[in-house]
Structures are given as structure tokens and as C-alpha cells.
């Protein structure tokens, strides 16, 4: 019912303490961008310069009573986004800063679960600021650092002036192993153009169509059980809709906690349209996206980012959805 132009885009800014989130926020608040932003911060304590609006919040993660065991949302976001939508002035975008140790999933899930939030705002992208010097160590020590990379649509790889070229290659490899779809921007002092960070529309279903990752082979080096990895599969044989729904529904119910993000473009037998989906843990958004373009290859592509993916028989499950 609401059209997308009336929904205010929301950018989620994550990253470990010291990576440079505040530097980026300061840039957003001080640069002459001619737009009106609201910035939701934790303990920032500064006023917006220009004409931006700064709102203080505490991260409050709430469990939902909807039978979905991993379904948590950000209660403070529901309250504040609802409040911002009552204002008479129009906001061009909203930026949400999370604390260094935050799990991005509850933020993303808020946009799937709360109808008022989904009607009036849309999740634009998750942007993670990473410290090129310390990211490798942080990934080994903190679950949250892996999650922040796994959820990122954009990684701002910051402080690259402090590392040499081989270290940059190493840390980028590490990021790609967790999340091959994220866009990596190398920066110093977060000096990326703001239009590469804001207004990306990364959570819109039609953006899934544009994603053409380098498909990885699944037999990369053995990782620790708790490491976040990704796998992807392609099928040139059309899939059977019923079989897919059954397998995928069951998969999310059983393993949703360990599947951080999923995306796919699907070619179903006897269906004219392309089907596109994307999910966060157990929650999923899916829709037909019009007929296949004439010159494009009709095939099905799915990708999973998560933990313990090797225990889920993903390849066999996906293969079993092929139509006879």
C-alpha cells in the first residue's frame, strides 16, 4: 500500500570501537550535503551542525512472542522511528549508529517484523566500518565482529595508510571469505564519498538481481566451527516450487539461528517470472520480480552466509529441489 518513495531510507552503521564510526558520523553531520538527516546515536552527546537532527538512544533488544526463537528486534528503534515519522518536516534519510559490540540482526529484523516501521521507513543498507590494522585479530576474538562483516552491504576498510599492501590484500581476503557480496571501500579517516555509503537501496529485492558475486567453491581451507562462512549454488535445471518451499521453510526453521543472511534468484518450472528472496535468520522477504529478460540466462542462484553451514546439507537440499 505504501509506495517506496514515501518510505524514509535508514542506514545502519556498525563497526568495532575505534574503527572510525564517529569519524564517519561527524562527516555526515558537518558536510554540506544539502539534505536533512536524522542520526540516532549512543552516547554521542553532540548537536548536529548544519540542519541535521541528533537523537540519543539506548540499544534495547527485545524478544518477540511470535514463536520465532531467534527473532529479536530493537525496541528503541521502533519507538524512535515511529516518533520521527510524526514530525512535520521531511527527513531525507535516517542513520542509526550501533555500539561496537552490537549484533546487526535485531536491527535488520526490526524492518521485517514491525509493520509501522516497514510502512514508513525502509532499511537502506548496513555499513560496517572496519579497522584495517585490527580487523584480523578482532575477527578471531569476537563473534560480533564476524556478524558485522557478514551483514555488511558495504565495508569501509579504514586506516589503510597504517598497513602495507600485502596486509590490505590479506584483510580483504578475510572479509570476502565471510561475505563475498559486500562492497569494500578502502579509506583513510572514512573519507568515502557519502553517496557510496548512503542511499544504496541494498535491501530492496531488485538489488538481489544485480548481485553477481564470484561464486566460491565450497572446498576452501578448513575453518574453525564457529567461523562465519558463505556458500553458493547454481542450478541450470528449473526448480520445483513446492519442493523448494518445503526444503527452504524447513531449513530456516531448523537452522535459522546459524544462517545470518540468505539471498537468491530462482527459476521455477512452468513459471514465467523470476523469483527473488532475501532473508535475515528465520525471516524472509520474497516476491516474483517480473519475467526473465530475453537475453539473460535462466538459472537459479542461492547464497548463504552463516555458521556451521557444512552441517545443513545445503548442496543436497538444493539439488533435491530440481524439477524432474
Amino acid at each position: 500500500m505504501e509506495n517506496s518513495s514515501s518510505q524514509v531510507p535508514v542506514t545502519v552503521l556498525t563497526g568495532f570501537l575505534g574503527a572510525g564510526k564517529t569519524t564517519l558520523l561527524n562527516r555526515i553531520l558537518t558536510e554540506q550535503h544539502g539534505r536533512r538527516y536524522a542520526v540516532i546515536v549512543n552516547e554521542f552527546g553532540e548537536q548536529g551542525i548544519d540542519n541535521d537532527l541528533v537523537v540519543d538512544a539506548d540499544e534495547e533488544v527485545f524478544e518477540m512472542n511470535n514463536g520465532c526463537i531467534c527473532c529479536t528486534v530493537r525496541g528503541d528503534l521502533i519507538r524512535i522511528l515511529g516518533g520521527l515519522m510524526k514530525r512535520a518536516d521531511q527527513l531525507d534519510a535516517i542513520i542509526v549508529e550501533t555500539t561496537g559490540l552490537a549484533d546487526p540482526a535485531p536491527v535488520a529484523q526490526t524492518f521485517f517484523v514491525d509493520q509501522d516501521v516497514a510502512d514508513r521507513t525502509k532499511l537502506d543498507a548496513i555499513v560496517t566500518v572496519a579497522d584495517a590494522v585490527h580487523l584480523s585479530t578482532q575477527l578471531g576474538e569476537h563473534h560480533e565482529a564476524e556478524e558485522q562483516i557478514a551483514f555488511a552491504d558495504v565495508v569501509l576498510l579504514n586506516k589503510i595508510d597504517l598497513v602495507d599492501q600485502s596486509q590490505i590484500i590479506g584483510v580483504k581476503d578475510r572479509i570476502r571469505k565471510i561475505n563475498p557480496y559486500t562492497k569494500i571501500i578502502e579509506t583513510n579517516r572514512c573519507a568515502a564519498p557519502l553517496d557510496e555509503v548512503l542511499g544504496l537501496n541494498a535491501f530492496s529485492l531488485d538489488r538481489v538481481l544485480e548481485v553477481e558475486p564470484d561464486f566460491l567453491d565450497s572446498d576452501h581451507d578448513h575453518e574453525h566451527d564457529d567461523d562465519v562462512t558463505s556458500v553458493s549454488f547454481v542450478s541450470d535445471t528449473p526448480l520445483d516450487l513446492e519442493k523448494f518451499e518445503k526444503w527452504f521453510g524447513n531449513l530456516l526453521q531448523t537452522h535459522g539461528q546459524n544462517i545470518l543472511r540468505s539471498k537468491g534468484i530462482l527459476d521455477f518450472k512452468n513459471e514465467k517470472d523470476r523469483y527473488v528472496f532475501q532473508g535475515v535468520h528465520m525471516l524472509m522477504d520474497a516476491s516474483p520480480m517480473g519475467p526473465w529478460p530475453e537475453k539473460s540466462i535462466r538459472n537459479s542462484r542461492v547464497v548463504f552466509i552463516g555458521r556451521k553451514l557444512e552441517t545443513m546439507n545445503l548442496k543436497e537440499g538444493f539439488e533435491s529441489c530440481k524439477s524432474d
Binding site: 524478544e63 519507538r79 509493520q115
Partner: protein, 339 residues
């Protein structure tokens, strides 16, 4: 909806329409006026006989409004807690800086507000507020009919504070989940909250027996009490859902009355007509109906769809006028009875 074939209701024919351009965020009765709070921080007083008076009070939206002894009190996104008299005098009770003032309430000369996880109470004797702390950001506050109990909802349930020997003592009414608005039943025996899920929760205060009222297709954003039983009248569905709170067990195991069934969309605001067994229901498309509290109700059209969600319905203290406000800032102010 600029459809010329739409037949205007008597209320639209006889009333005045104001386009304020700012969302209506709340309204309350004060003296002989209805005071309305807006998303641009202004307050407007509507009187039966005079033109409305506009007062610029907050910068940013007004989040909550209540009436006190000598003016309306408001909480805003500018962190200010204000008292505004009907002759437009603005007094700052407190300034919370960058923290929003989410909820306000008053009883006689006692005024309170919530900001973040705390409730702040000002009563006659003290200039300094008494602070009541809670575990998470407060969703709603309510004062009972005697001013002796304060209900505060947040994540995990309601805290009921009682004034005993000049001290506020707390008692917890727990229920998993995030609770929003809270209210006492008119007899003071029940507590009711709206929830993040599409349902309401209620407790009998005496023994903390609790129950859910569920089955709504959308979030319940508004409730009120109507009739002698009384009924708890709720928004959130395509009809106004009215739960009977008479008898020992209230609505437990009983079916609600469903009235005001002419709306095509979910109700977003409900209000009772004081002294009558009747309820106003405002819908997501801007339509407003008046309906009887009965098994086979008659509906009266108050307002045709405007295209914007009804965010407030208020009756003037002398019951002569009705005010309907929507989320785009349109106000209908109309005589309630045939002239």
C-alpha cells in the same frame, strides 16, 4: 480523496476543516477547550465559540499531552517538559536535553513525565522531581482515579507504584514482551497494556491474574472505556473490538462485541461518547464512524475517508463538539448535535 460524488456527512457539512500541515499527535480536554498537539511542536486550542488559538511550544514533534490543574502539559522531541495555559503562557517544567520526553500525565497538582527509563514526579511540596527507575525505556504511564497509584509499562510488564506514607512502593506485573500504552479500568481493578505483538494484555490487580486479548490483524494503537459494564474498546481491527469487563472474570472466555463495521481498513483510534453507550472509531483511510455498543449496532458516518490515518478523536468537555485529527494534519471540528 477529492471525489466529488462523495456525499458529505452532517458533521462535514456543519463543521470546519483546518489543514495544519503537521501530523496530529495527541489531544486532551482542558477547561472548555480541546487542546491538540502537533508534529511541528505547536499546540492549538479549539473552543466551541471562538477561533482556534495556536501556540508554538516545542521544536520537533509533541510526543505526549495531558491536562493538569492549570494548563496542558506536553512532552516533546526537544527534550522539554512544558505547561501551557489556555491563554498561551508557556512554562518549562524541566529540560532533558537530547533525551525525548515520551509520556506525560497529571493528577490535580501532581505532574509527571517519562524520559528514557525514568519517571519524574513533581508534586506541590517539592521543586525537585521524585525519580522512579525502571529496567527499560518506558512505553506508557497512567495515574488511577484517585491519584494514589501510577502504572508504568515497559519491556517485561507493568510496574505499579503506590503512594504509602509519602513513599512510592512498587509491585511488578510481569508478562514477556514489550508493552506500550497502559491504562486502569474505570473501577481501578484492572490494568491494560497494548503490546508490540498484535494484542493487548490485562491483569486483575487484586491477584495479578492475567490474560491476553489477541486476534488483531494489526498493532493496537488505541483503547478507551465505554458504557456502564464497562467495555474496553480497542482499535487494531476492521471493527472496533469491545471486551466486556463486568463480572468477576472480565472478558476471560467471552467473546467481544464487534461494532463500527463499515470501515474498509483497520481502526487506528477509538473514543467513547461520554454518557452514552456509543463509540467513535477512526480508520486508517481517515473514515470515522459513530457506533452503538450493542449486538446489532447502527453506524453513523462522521467523516468520509481523507486518505490519511485518523490519529485522534476528541469530544469537547461540554459535549457540544467533536474533533477529528489525522496523520497529515487535517482537523475536522464540528457540532456534535443537530442545531
Amino acid at each position: 480523496m477529492n471525489n466529488e460524488s462523495v456525499i458529505k456527512s452532517r458533521f462535514e457539512e456543519n463543521g470546519k476543516v483546518f489543514e495544519t500541515g503537521a501530523p496530529v499527535t495527541g489531544a486532551v480536554s482542558i477547561e472548555n477547550a480541546v487542546a491538540v498537539g502537533f508534529g511541528d511542536g505547536s499546540i492549538r486550542f479549539f473552543w466551541p465559540d471562538n477561533d482556534p488559538l495556536e501556540v508554538q511550544a516545542h521544536s520537533g514533534a509533541i510526543l505526549s499531552i495531558a491536562s493538569s490543574n492549570d494548563g496542558v502539559i506536553t512532552g516533546g522531541q526537544d527534550g522539554r517538559f512544558l505547561k501551557i495555559s489556555t491563554n498561551a503562557e508557556v512554562e518549562e517544567i524541566y529540560n532533558f536535553g537530547t533525551r525525548w520526553v515520551d509520556n506525560v500525565a497529571a493528577y490535580e497538582s501532581m505532574v509527571l513525565c517519562s524520559s528514557g527509563k525514568n519517571v519524574y514526579i513533581w508534586s506541590d511540596e517539592n521543586d525537585k522531581p521524585k525519580i522512579l527507575e525502571h529496567q527499560s525505556t518506558i512505553g506508557g504511564i497512567a495515574i488511577d482515579q484517585n491519584g494514589r497509584r501510577i502504572a508504568v509499562s515497559c519491556y517485561g510488564g507493568v510496574t505499579l507504584w503506590r503512594l504509602e506514607k509519602n513513599k512510592w512502593k512498587s509491585s511488578k506485573f510481569a508478562w514477556k514482551g514489550s508493552h506500550g500504552k497502559v491504562g486502569f479500568s474505570p473501577d481501578g481493578k484492572y490494568l491494560v497494556t497494548t503490546m508490540q505483538e498484535n494484542e493487548l494484555h490485562a491483569w486483575r490487580i487484586r491477584d495479578k491474574a492475567s490474560f491476553a486479548m489477541s486476534g488483531y490483524p494489526s498493532k493496537v494503537k488505541s483503547f478507551t472505556w465505554a458504557g456502564d459494564n464497562p467495555y474496553l474498546v480497542t482499535a487494531g481491527a476492521k471493527e472496533a473490538i469491545c471486551w466486556p469487563f463486568d463480572g468477576k472474570e472480565g472478558p476471560k472466555g467471552r467473546k467481544p462485541l464487534c461494532i463500527a463495521s463499515g470501515g474498509q481498513q483497520n481502526a487506528t483510534f477509538v473514543e467513547s461518547l461520554p454518557g452514552e453507550k456509543a463509540v467513535f472509531a477512526g480508520f486508517r483511510n481517515g473514515m470515522v464512524l459513530l457506533s452503538e455498543l450493542s449486538e446489532h449496532p447502527n453506524d453513523v458516518l462522521i467523516q468520509n475517508p481523507t486518505g490519511s490515518e485518523v490519529s485522534n478523536i476528541s469530544i469537547s468537555p461540554d459535549r457540544s463538539h467533536i474533533l477529528v485529527g489525522d496523520s497529515k494534519g487535517q482537523i475536522l471540528w464540528s457540532p456534535l448535535w443537530e442545531q
